[in-house]
Symmetry: C2
Subunit: 349 residues, 2 copies
Amino acid sequence: MRATVIHAPYDIRVEEVPDPIIRQPTDVLVRVLRSCICGSDLWPYRGEVARKPEPGARIGHEFLGVVTDAGSEVTGFAAGDLVVAPFLWSDGVCDFCQEGLQTSCVRGGGWGSPEVDGGQGEAVRVPFADGTLVKLPAEAASDDRLLTALLSLSDVMGTGHHAAVGAGVRPGSTVAVVGDGAVGLCGVLAARRLGAERIIMLGRHRARTDIATSFGATDIVAERGDAAVAAVRELTGGQGAHAVIEAVGTEQSMTTALGIARAGGAIGYVGAPHGSGDGVNLRTMFDANIALRGGVAPVRAYIPELLPDVLDGTIDPSPVFDLTVGLDEVPGGYKAMNDRAALKVLIKP
Amino acid sequence: MRATVIHAPYDIRVEEVPDPIIRQPTDVLVRVLRSCICGSDLWPYRGEVARKPEPGARIGHEFLGVVTDAGSEVTGFAAGDLVVAPFLWSDGVCDFCQEGLQTSCVRGGGWGSPEVDGGQGEAVRVPFADGTLVKLPAEAASDDRLLTALLSLSDVMGTGHHAAVGAGVRPGSTVAVVGDGAVGLCGVLAARRLGAERIIMLGRHRARTDIATSFGATDIVAERGDAAVAAVRELTGGQGAHAVIEAVGTEQSMTTALGIARAGGAIGYVGAPHGSGDGVNLRTMFDANIALRGGVAPVRAYIPELLPDVLDGTIDPSPVFDLTVGLDEVPGGYKAMNDRAALKVLIKP
């Protein structure tokens, strides 16, 4: 089959790789219908990771597709099932999985790790399929818009929801969102869904802020840095936002998030820390009782909660995908996202 | 009257100062029956604060006593009332006070700040008395043990409770406590009160760990640093504690707290950051979804909740006071606490 591999920074290729096969009785094989490129895929693309990927490593961690084969111990899935995969696989039975923190599964792991396929390819072997995958209604396969919306459950919609939950969004909350990428935008959707009264989006790219507005943002702050902090404070009577969604993961974004958080509020952070400093100022947090809560999102736990709302159209994250490519065009998709010419790239293998 | 003043590091004196008078119609005057020395008083004592106190500054922020006079606009208190003061004064009417975050009161402040008496003296002018003070039953004045227990509501018991709440202690939780001072010990009491099943106290001083055990600690870990982390992990099947109370405020204590927190758990931190580094490792927190929640405790909000349990003996924090001095002996009290010869010094002016 063909799949995306990364050889070195800025060297993404689509190559012939071995077809996946059932290796464990708990595996299933999935033919990929939709995959996509994540903002975090740009870090290895740019070489911004501490441990460089092995040349030829597979990449991509968001996909949905159709089961083509199932191992003998798989009970929940059979060939023909339409399924979505969260961005990590997990056994479904350990203490953490049982508690809904599948990201800490003691036997889990990531797509594209050695011996495990990446999501940006024609097919994927899914370990611990019963613990990992979630079944989708078969009829969704014929609805192009819905299929794209459902793909967001693989990562960005669940991650935005995790940020909103971490930030403590509740009915009536004033929420501020730092980060105008797909996760930040999904954070707007999630905040609205949780009842936020006011949602302030920090962003200056019109195409993105237009999506934010359509998702429920009530105010757009185009300033950056200290000016953005001042603008949010101005909008909130000097107090700041009860709930801040931090969806970037740089020192600057965390500093901004802390600057616009209201005393007694919380920052829900899902931007993986990937800069030199983390921007956390414990003294500021201490004096104002600002909580910091978040991390790698256990999207597997959130799919059952969010799925009905995506199916019935209560939330429609599909607009975050603004460029669609075929598998052979994936390298161009990376370039488009890296150049910020595209917000999030959908892949139809 | 006589009151404690600080002139320079290690130069604490008890001196004649002006008698307090009603300055604002919202003030009351309190004759102090009990005060005490806080672990955080040792920072200016040692010169470990960024801004040195003015020579001759008043000190002390925990007290209870009897109202001797009340301003014309005070409605809740009259001469003769027995009252306890939280460690900050607050107006009781601003948004934050109404929400129970009196530590962020827009007009509030600290004892011993310019023009405001410290708690370690014979009397105190209390600003915004209706917002600040809490009335105690008159009969408590004749119960020496109870009066001492009630003084803990001024700071350490409410602060320990804040840490337990921040750490998310709930029925069945496994809790670990970093810090064997009065706040950490009150954190044990608070954790037990909130239903913790297992409470692991990190400490090596027998007098303190004995109090911890009497307060409800089920396990004592005498190791420090990496060995302490390993010991707590061993006690918790490798997973760590759901809820960690951090009651020190140094880089080392936060590093330990993070090392023993279970994935998906939380650190409730009330040790005011006062070292060079803060020990926060955002990457570790991110990967394991460990929340950081706490800060300066809004003890004013907690007094009404905790008071009944102190009055009926459900919790008795009085053992944290292990040395009692008169006002003239306060300098020796500081020395005893600084030398760790005393855990917490009670002052009977």
